[in-house]
């Protein structure tokens, strides 16, 4: 089922998300992250170009969330440095937006609309503008019909979409997404992928996208990074995805890449599982 | 309503109002009467009566310059002199040998039968010691149990203590519970006395006003003595104490405003000794400068 570019209906294109926002380059330099004595992530070196779309893959529990938490400024690396456009990251900031793996990140006491308007409001964006922005992103993620509901009144997938809208409406220079589409059915996920792709191309922001779906990574990424199994996880390999966009996950190149990635991650997962007393037969 | 006290300053009088601190108690009947019937105003005084939960607080308020004059029992005030050297006792406005009584549980008829004595620290404790001394009973053969006044009748009834010595209304309250009055402090020669106290700094510029207050109180005390009903009515309306109770208390007291006598001074020396023995005071105070013997006779013309 090949998909061409996506387009959102109606008014949204006219108030397209600030085309002027430029992505920012990221430099991870020997980043090590510890929880007490436990070294979750060890010596990660990555350079991300401004405007690049990176997908991060790896076995469950390897350290993907930990790594992007550090990039967001939430976790201080025990060693190494993270630079955003040459500036060391020392804490959370407007420049780096994060879609969390858990939808607890939504503010329970605010409606979905208010959640989305939160960032712009804090930045002092005028009410009219904020509303327009919220309307745009609400319909972008298909939640216009429950704009005035509270997060606890939504389903898991809907909450996750609300979180995505909230981060995108804030127009960060770097967008970090931690399995944002994990709770969505295949079709809704595709639509979301297309919208994300469009926004990324319009705004030129840098994206680091954690996912478990290899096809998703292939459709979206400029470059795919695979992490080793933890503890002391690091970047195992990096794949440049040169397939022209819009991409077809059923294309030959994509299938070949899929196979390679699957093999690559599979080896890591097996390593991890063996250490945990589990084996996978027949593979 | 009894809220009039605070705003009773007479219109037309000149100068700052005189603030007089009093307890909420029938022992302050002349103050209530004078205030209710406008006697201060008639004397050209502007007086604010300020009620305190306890008379001791009224005297302490002088130290805090919250009031200019106050009334309180001698025993309580004596101990306050140490920290408040600027207190000046001007005159006595009441005394009574019947206001404090020994009340015992049924079956106890004389002092020697009392093994446990309920007292309240201070006045009651002092008078109880004098009671046993007067009955030639060694103090260490009696156990003194300190409690708050309102629970002593019940404790006696319950048998926790054998008797107690307290001021009204607690003796009558005990009688209502079936206890017996044994005696009053007058029977062994001790009286309950109230002082009028003033702030020495205030007094310097206001001798005349203080004298006028004394005059008004003299008059009010006479009326109180002659017409307890009238005084009790005033107490009821100003202090929310039931008229019957107020009247009963008023009738036990000699309402007579007077100067200090040699007998008074001797009693203060005795009390001082008591407080030193108890450890409340480290050493006896020289209270001569605080007690203005002769002030009343000098400033207030005998009618």
């Amino acid at each position: 089922m090949p998909l061409t570019t996506a387009k959102s209906t109606g008014t949204t294109t006219s108030t397209a998300p600030a085309a002027g926002v430029r992505g920012a380059a990221l430099d991870l330099d020997a980043v090590t992250i510890k929880f007490g004595d436990f070294t979750a992530v060890d010596s990660v070196d990555v350079s991300v170009r401004a405007g690049e779309f990176i997908c991060l893959l790896g076995p469950s529990g390897c350290g993907k969330s930990t790594l992007i938490s550090a990039i967001a400024g939430f976790e201080k690396p025990a060693n190494g440095r993270i630079h955003l456009e040459g500036q060391e990251i020392r804490g959370a900031s407007l420049d780096v937006g994060m879609v969390f793996q858990s939808s607890e990140a939504l503010f329970d006491w605010l409606t979905i609309r208010q959640n989305i308007e939160y960032g712009p409001k804090m930045r002092g964006v005028a009410k009219k503008e904020r509303q327009a922005l919220a309307d745009e992103f609400l319909s972008l993620v298909g939640l216009a019909h429950c704009a005035d509901q509270l997060p606890r009144q939504l389903s898991g997938g809907m909450r996750q979409r609300a979180q995505i809208a909230r981060v995108l409406a804030n127009e960060p220079r770097v967008v970090l997404m931690d399995e944002p589409f994990g709770a969505l059915d295949a079709q809704t996920r595709q639509v979301m992928q297309q919208e994300l792709d469009r926004i990324w191309r319009t705004s030129g922001c840098t994206v680091i996208f954690v996912t478990h779906d290899i096809d998703e990574a292939i459709v979206l990424a400029d470059r795919i990074l695979v992490m080793t199994a933890g503890p002391e996880a690091t970047i195992k390999s990096s794949y440049d995805v040169d397939i022209p966009r819009p991409r077809d996950e059923a294309g030959d190149e994509a299938i070949a890449l899929h196979r390679k990635l699957r093999e690559d991650i599979g080896a890591e997962v097996r390593k991890a599982l063996q250490g945990q007393g589990l084996t996978q037969e027949g593979s | 309503g009894g809220s009039g006290a605070g705003k009773s300053g007479a219109t037309g009088a000149s100068g700052d109002p005189i603030r007089i601190g009093i307890g909420i108690d029938a022992a302050y009947a002349p103050f209530f009467l004078a205030d209710k019937e406008g006697m201060f105003k008639d004397a050209g005084l502007k007086v604010n009566l300020v009620q305190f939960g306890r008379g001791g607080d009224a005297v302490q308020a002088i130290a805090g310059s919250q009031v200019d004059m106050a009334g309180n029992s001698d025993t309580t005030t004596l101990t306050l002199l140490k920290q408040n050297p600027k207190l000046r006792a001007l005159f006595i406005y009441e005394q009574s040998g019947k206001y404090l009584k020994v009340v015992a549980k049924p079956g106890i008829t004389k002092a020697s039968q009392i093994k446990k004595m309920g007292v309240v620290q201070g006045l009651s404790d002092y008078m109880a010691q004098k009671y046993f001394e007067a009955n030639k009973i060694p103090l260490d053969s009696v156990k003194f149990v300190e409690a708050d006044p309102s629970s002593l009748p019940a404790l006696t009834k319950k048998g926790t203590v054998d008797a107690y010595l307290l001021w009204e209304p607690w003796p009558s309250n005990g009688v209502k519970l079936g206890l017996k009055e044994l005696t009053d402090t007058g029977s062994y020669g001790y009286s309950y006395v109230h002082w009028a106290v003033a702030d020495s700094t205030w007094l310097k510029g206001h001798e005349k006003e203080a004298a006028k207050v004394a005059e008004v109180l003299t008059k009010a005390a006479k009326i109180t003595a002659k017409d307890p009903d009238r005084a009790a009515a005033a107490v009821e309306s100003e202090a929310k104490i039931k008229k019957a109770d107020a009247k009963q208390a008023i009738e036990l007291v000699d309402w007579d405003v007077r100067d200090f006598t040699a007998k008074d001074t001797k009693s203060y020396d005795e009390q001082m000794k008591y407080f030193v023995d108890k450890g409340t005071l480290k050493k006896a105070l020289d209270i001569k400068p605080n007690i203005l013997t002769g002030w009343y006779d000098e400033h207030v013309a005998k009618p």
Binding site: F107, R166 | G2
Partner: protein, 277 residues
């Protein structure tokens, strides 16, 4: 309030909307509640009467004696005056306590340096009985209303502070992170994340502070109070007027009950912040 049991089916936190609709089960629920309430009162009265007959009128005023006393005090206006005077003091002192305590608690909860500076003082003063400050309060604030209000404020503010701190420190970390990376400044986070998260704790603190305000009214009104329920209780107690003491007590209890109900109704709109009272 119907959320209490674990298993009955409609336990899932339903929308505000759905919970506000008075459906049949709620109707019978409130009927039962009303019935229980009346039973509670009647039972209380019976126990009271029994206690009173056991101890006699010198120690415990019976319901009817108390009623008579109340009628007398009502007739001459004292009761109403006392209620009004005390309510005013309690309300103002309490409100000040909440208004001062909540922001302080938020700051102390989230800003280490503020907590480290203020904590020793708070942990010292909150253990000192207000009665100890009666004299000082009078000297500083005079014998008028202010000194009484200050004493009430004193006993309510610490409760609000401690409860607010406990709310502030338990703010969900993920939400704090989300807000920070959406560009909220520290003070914005305090206002828009920590405050909303702490609201249930602040409400509990305010309810407890209301209790403490009532407990202090006697201490506060010992001084230079011509009117008020605390003064009524104190004077009547010193005069052995058990019936009036009981009038004062019952009225205080009922007034507290009423204040708390009003407070609960007032905080209903805060339900979306997780307030359940």
């Amino acid at each position: 309030m119907t959320l209490a049991e674990t298993k009955p089916a409609p336990a899932r936190p339903a929308s505000d909307k759905s919970r506000r609709r008075g459906q049949k089960p709620n109707m019978t629920g409130s009927l039962r509640r009303g019935g229980l309430f009346i039973v509670s009162i009647v039972l209380g009265l019976v126990v009271w009467q029994l206690v009173a007959s056991h101890f006699g009128p010198a120690l415990v005023a019976s319901p009817s004696e108390t009623w008579q006393g109340a009628a007398d005090l009502w007739a001459d206006g004292t009761l109403w005056q006392s209620i009004w005077a005390s309510s005013r003091r309690i309300f103002i002192g309490w409100a000040l306590g909440v208004v001062v305590g909540a922001p302080l608690g938020l700051l102390m909860g989230r800003i280490t340096i503020v907590r480290e500076i203020l904590d020793p003082y708070i942990e010292f003063f909150r253990f000192i009985p207000p009665i100890a400050f009666v004299t000082l309060a009078i000297i500083w604030f005079g014998i008028g209303e202010s000194s009484k209000i200050v004493l009430i404020f004193y006993t309510s503010v610490f409760v609000v502070i401690i409860n607010t701190i406990s709310g502030a420190v338990s703010t969900d970390e993920t939400k704090l992170r989300a807000a920070a990376s959406l560009g909220a400044s520290k003070s914005q986070i305090l206002r828009t994340i920590v405050l909303p998260s702490a609201i249930p704790h602040i409400v509990t603190g305010a309810r407890l502070a209301m209790g403490n305000s009532f407990l202090t009214i006697v201490s506060a009104e010992i001084v230079a109070a011509q009117e008020g329920l605390g003064a009524l209780i104190w004077t009547s107690r010193n005069y052995g007027h058990i019936d009036w003491v009981f009038v004062g007590i019952i009225v205080l209890g009922a007034l507290g009950f009423l204040f708390d109900r009003v407070l609960r109704v007032c905080v209903r709109p805060l339900r979306r912040y997780g307030v359940k009272v």
